[in-house]
Symmetry: C2
Subunit: 389 residues, 2 copies
C-alpha cells in the first residue's frame, strides 16, 4: 500500500487536529485523508472548506464504510460511539484508530475487543498520545526492569486539566450523561488513567473514589475526583483529578522498595535510589532511628513527547507493514475500567472490586442517563484543541 487512505469519522475539534496533521501539514508519511463523515453535514462542508479538503463527504459512517474510498478510519466522535463505530469498521474490513477513551462503559469496550479478536489482520489502535512521552516510557521501562523493586505506592495528582464554563458550553454533548457519559475522568484524565497501569505494569484490584458532580461548573457529570486504589501486591495509591483547579498540579510519584520515581508536569523525572532494598533494611537494621542511604538523580530534565503525530505515523506504518503497532486498541479497556470503577464506587458509596461488574455499571449509568439532560442539537461550533492535551 503506497498511501493509507484514511477516513475521518466525526469532524469536530479532534478531527480537525488530525486533518491538520495529515492533510494540511503533511506530517504523516504514507497517509492521506481520503474521506470524511459527520452527522452534521453543514458543519462537515464548512470544515472541508476550512481545511481545503476536496475528498468525498459522507453523512454517516455506514455510507463511508461502504464506499470503498478508505482503508482505515480514525474515530473522533463523542465517546459513546467509539466502540460501535469501531465494530462497524472492523466488520467492513477497515483498520481502526479510536480516540480516547476506548468507550464509556466496560461492556461496550469488551464487545469492541471481542470483535477485534475476530480480525487479527486489521490494525486496531488507540490514540493514547501521552504514551509517546519519554519520561513515562522511562518510568515504565525501569519498573519492568525491576529498578524500583516491589511497587509500594503510586500517587498521581493530576489537577492541571483546567476548563472554564465556556468550554462546557461549547458543545451540548459535553459533560452530560447522555452525550458524553462522564466528565473529567472520561474526557481529560483518560490519558493518565491509561498511563498509570501501563507504567506500573498492573491494574488495581480495589477502588474507592469520591466524585463530585458539577462542583465547579454548571454540568451534570463529575469535575472533581479523589480516588484511592489497591493493587494485587498490596501497593496503594491516590489519583486526584479535576477541571476546576487553577493553577493545577501534575505530579506522579511511584515508590518501590528500591527507590522512588517522581515525574513533575510530565517532563522532569527524578530517581531516588536506595543503596539497599527497604525491606531488607527494615529486617536487618538494629539502630532504632535510621534509614537506608539514597542517591538522587535527575534522569530527564525536559521530556520529549511526539504526541499525536507519532501515534498517527505509527498507525500508518503498522498498516503498511513497516512497524509494529505501539498502542494496541484492546488496551483501552484498562482506562475505562479505572474511570468506571471510580464512578461506580461513588454511586454505590463503597470500595469496589476490580474488574467491576459490567452490567451493574451500565445499569447505574442508565439511571443517570434516564434522569439526565436530553441530547440537544449541536451548534456545530468547533474549538481549536491545539496544545490542550
Amino acid at each position: 500500500m503506497e498511501q493509507v487512505r484514511i477516513g475521518i469519522v466525526g469532524f469536530g475539534d479532534q478531527g480537525s487536529a488530525y486533518v491538520k496533521h495529515i492533510h494540511q501539514e503533511k506530517q504523516v508519511e504514507g497517509a492521506v485523508i481520503a474521506a470524511v463523515c459527520d452527522v452534521n453535514t453543514q458543519k462537515l462542508a464548512a470544515q472541508c472548506e476550512k481545511f481545503g479538503l476536496s475528498c468525498p463527504q459522507f453523512p454517516s459512517h455506514e455510507a463511508m464504510f461502504k464506499s470503498s474510498e478508505v482503508d482505515a478510519v480514525i474515530i473522533t466522535t463523542p465517546h459513546y460511539f467509539h466502540p460501535p463505530i469501531a465494530i462497524d469498521a472492523m466488520k467492513a474490513g477497515l483498520h481502526v484508530l479510536s480516540d480516547k477513551p476506548a468507550g464509556v462503559y466496560t461492556k461496550q469496550v469488551k464487545e469492541m475487543n471481542a470483535e477485534a479478536a475476530k480480525h487479527p489482520d486489521l490494525i486496531f489502535g488507540m490514540m493514547f498520545n501521552q504514551r509517546t512521552n519519554e519520561a513515562y516510557r522511562k518510568m515504565r521501562a525501569m519498573i519492568a526492569d525491576g529498578d524500583l523493586g516491589q511497587i509500594k505506592r503510586v500517587n498521581w495528582i493530576i489537577t492541571d486539566w483546567y476548563r472554564s464554563q465556556s468550554y462546557y458550553d461549547s458543545g451540548a454533548w459535553r459533560a452530560t450523561w447522555r452525550g458524553e457519559g462522564g466528565g473529567v475522568l472520561f474526557n481529560q484524565a483518560p490519558h493518565q488513567l491509561d498511563l498509570l497501569p501501563w507504567i506500573v505494569g498492573m491494574m488495581p484490584v480495589k477502588m474507592q473514589a469520591h466524585c463530585h458532580f458539577g462542583k465547579w461548573h454548571n454540568i451534570e457529570t463529575e469535575d472533581d475526583v479523589t480516588a484511592y486504589m489497591e493493587f494485587p501486591n498490596g501497593a496503594t495509591g491516590v489519583f486526584v483529578t479535576t477541571t476546576g483547579d487553577f493553577p493545577g498540579t501534575n505530579r506522579l510519584e511511584i515508590l518501590g522498595t528500591k527507590g522512588k520515581l517522581v515525574c513533575e508536569n510530565g517532563s522532569r523525572l527524578v530517581f531516588f535510589e536506595n543503596e539497599v532494598d527497604e525491606r531488607e533494611f527494615n529486617r536487618t537494621y538494629k539502630g532504632g532511628f535510621g534509614t537506608p542511604k539514597t542517591t538522587e538523580t535527575v534522569l530527564i530534565e525536559k521530556a520529549e513527547a511526539k504526541q499525536h503525530v507519532a501515534i498517527l505515523q505509527n498507525y500508518a506504518d503498522a498498516i503498511r507493514g513497516l512497524a509494529p503497532l505501539q498502542v494496541p486498541g484492546t488496551e483501552g479497556i484498562n482506562g475505562v475500567e479505572m474511570m468506571d470503577a471510580m464512578l461506580l464506587s461513588e454511586w454505590l458509596g463503597k470500595k469496589v472490586d476490580m474488574p467491576i461488574d459490567d452490567d451493574l455499571y451500565l445499569a447505574e449509568l442508565d439511571k443517570r442517563r434516564a434522569a439526565g439532560k436530553p441530547l440537544a442539537e449541536e451548534s456545530g461550533a468547533v474549538l481549536d484543541t491545539a496544545g490542550t492535551y
Copy 2:
C-alpha cells in the same frame, strides 16, 4: 519568678531531649530542671547520672506533684497518660506542657480541656514544635489574610516518617493498642495533623481513611494511612502517611481560588498567584480553552524552624509573664480528632462525620485493646531522638 522549676514526667527518649536542652545545654532562659519522675526507677537513676542531674527523683508523678519542688511540668510519658497526668498537674496548681499527641482518644482530651478551663491562671501548652517553622507560619498567615481566596484543595503527602522494625522493637509500648493506642497517626504524624487545620484555619467535617495495620512492620497498629477529607466550605483533601516508605515525601499543597501554595520538605515554599480569581475567570471567560494568568514566586528557599527549644522558651516565658503562650494546649484536640476520625473510618468501613462520636471511638478502641498484646515490662532502653521529628 526568677527561674521556673520544671519537673519532667517520664524520662525516656523525649524527656532526655528536653533535659539536654534545658539542663545540659542551658538553651532555655529562666528554666531549670528541678525534679524528674519515672515509674522505672532504675532507668530514672541511670538517666540522671547520664545527664548529670542531681535534682530529686520521684517514682510517680503524684509524689512529684505533692513535693513542692516544681512550678511546672513537662509530660513525656506514653500517650495515654498525657491527659490524666495533665489533669493531676492542673489540680495540683502546676503549669503543664504536654508532649504530642494531646491524648489517644477525644474523650480524654476533652476531659483535660475541661480541667484546663477551670485553671485560667495556669499555662497549658502543647509541644507542637513544627508550628515554629516559618514556612508553615507563612502559609497560615497568607490564608488568614485571604491571599489564597477560598480554599479548594489541601493535599499532604507526608511519608517521610520512616521507621525500621528495630525502632518498634526498642520499646514494648510502641505501636500497641494498649501501650501507645495507635501507630504512625499517633506518634509521627501528630505534627502534620495539628498543622493542617491550623494552617488552613478550619477542621474537616468528613473523613474517610484507609488504614493498614502492621503492613510494613511487625506491629499491631496502623503504619500506612491514606485519608480523604471534606471541609465545611466544600474543599477536599488527601493526607497520606506511613512509616514504611523510603525515601518518603513531604509535600503540602494548598489551592485556593486565588492561587496555590506548595511547601516541599517543610522548607521550600512556592506561591502561584492567579491574576484573577479562578471563580471569576470561570464565569466570565468566553474562549473555550483558556486559563487565568499566574505568576510563580519562591517565598522561602529554606525555612527556619526553632523547634523544641522555642516551644520550651515560650513556655518558660509565658509562665514568667514575659510573653503570651504560642501553642495553647487546648488546641491539641484538633489533631486527636483528625487521627481518631481516620481510625474510626477504617474500623467502621465508611466515611465519618467530624467531630466524631467520642464514646463510639473509645468503645472501638477498647475492642482493640482487649484483643491486643498485654503490656510488657519496659526494657528501660532509651533512644536518641535528635533530629527525628
